[in-house]
Symmetry: C2
Subunit: 212 residues, 2 copies
DNA sequence: ACCTGAACACCGTTCAAGT
DNA sequence: ACCTGAACACCGTTCAAGT
């Protein structure tokens, strides 16, 4: 059939199909991806340079979905705003937890991702975080969210109860709800702990610099 | 030459050689690994079931190195103890940051890893964390450390200064030290924020439950 | 401009043969 | 028990040919 009158493929269509494969099976191959699009593997190279660019397109797709919800809610203040930003970022990954391992070693430059960090920087400044501390704080929040997202990709039983000889740890594992519920509760606790610390950091820093 | 009088290979030797390849190049292939051991690829299968088991052996190797330093220092109290545990875990990965992306999808059962969580559970209990909160807290700390470790595997320039239109974010990126120094400073800040929160959590919880 | 089909080098893994 | 060499199916990628 050679060239169709209208293109069968596009970068977003390819990324969506790849995401569906990863959601279902944890990974994708060029052959399976082409198959699911009703096309030959070599056709994909008319739209992207290769597998790596497909992964990049998937990440952009996921984060753009998350960014949509960002401005939609009324917010009571900067602390609440930071909470919402962090939650929405984690939830974007929570919808497709299995791409996380594919996406971890990368350079951030996609506009959709950058906007997320810009909003975060703004709200942290309103909260009172000093300029020279800003990127350290962003890095901490990034670590927490990425680690929490990673936790979502983990198996339901993160810790094997039978492989410990500690009664204390075994009991804690047994008492905790499984999988997603534990992950969600823990993330909210993490937000409480870190944001509590941030508010105090902002307060003490501004008290110290009030004579400037 | 067929079978040698003494085995040329062993699981630890294979894991070490694979780790050297990953440290140098970010990944390994069975062919390159066999080559670096002076052996044919098929020989590896006499010692492990396949590539996946090699990755597992590498993780165990890295975490055992980190666990060695664990009990060696005198400690002033449980908060300091928790700090040391978290630091040593992150530092184990910091020595081989490039394995982190290979190792992120989990099932914790290796004894070396379990001992780390046992010690953490003990010290958190001494600190005053309630039993029913224990696994949530461990999950938060796990997220922070894993996220911070992931940050170590990232390129020197995590954020591309030129791809943002926010003057605030651009200035923060420009002002921050590059690569490892930013990552280290941010991790220490993360420890301060979370542990501060944990101490307050322990205090308020024990105050609330004092009438039990 | 965009899909195809054949061909490429390379990948992880299996297994009978050898000592 | 442990290394070898040949063979396997599969992988991502290239490119001349077709419209």
């Amino acid at each position: 059939m050679a060239r169709p009158s209208r293109p069968l493929l596009s970068v977003p269509r390819i990324a969506e199909a790849a995401l569906a494969l990863v959601d279902a099976g944890g990974d994708f191959t060029m052959a399976a991806l082409a198959d699911s699009l009703g096309v030959r593997p070599s056709s994909l190279y008319n739209h992207l340079a290769g597998r790596e660019e497909i992964v990049e397109a998937m990440r952009t797709l996921v984060l753009e979905q998350g960014a949509k919800e960002l401005g939609s809610e009324a917010v009571r203040g900067p602390e609440e705003a930071v909470r919402l930003i962090l939650r929405s970022y984690r939830e974007a990954f929570a919808r497709h937890p299995r791409i996380i391992p594919l996406v971890t070693s990368y350079t951030v430059s996609a506009p959709a991702v950058m906007r997320w960090y810009e909003e975060l920087a703004d709200q942290l400044t309103v909260l009172g975080i000093a300029r020279d501390r800003l990127l350290d704080v962003i890095t901490v929040l990034d670590s927490l969210v990425l680690g929490a997202a990673l936790d979502l990709a983990a198996p339901d039983e993160v810790w094997d109860r039978r492989s410990t000889r500690s009664a204390l740890l075994a009991a804690a594992i047994a008492a905790s709800p499984p999988g997603r519920e534990r992950a969600d509760r823990a993330f909210e606790l993490g937000l409480d702990l870190v944001l509590g610390g941030l508010v105090r950091l902002a307060t003490t820093a501004s008290a110290g610099s009030s004579r400037t």
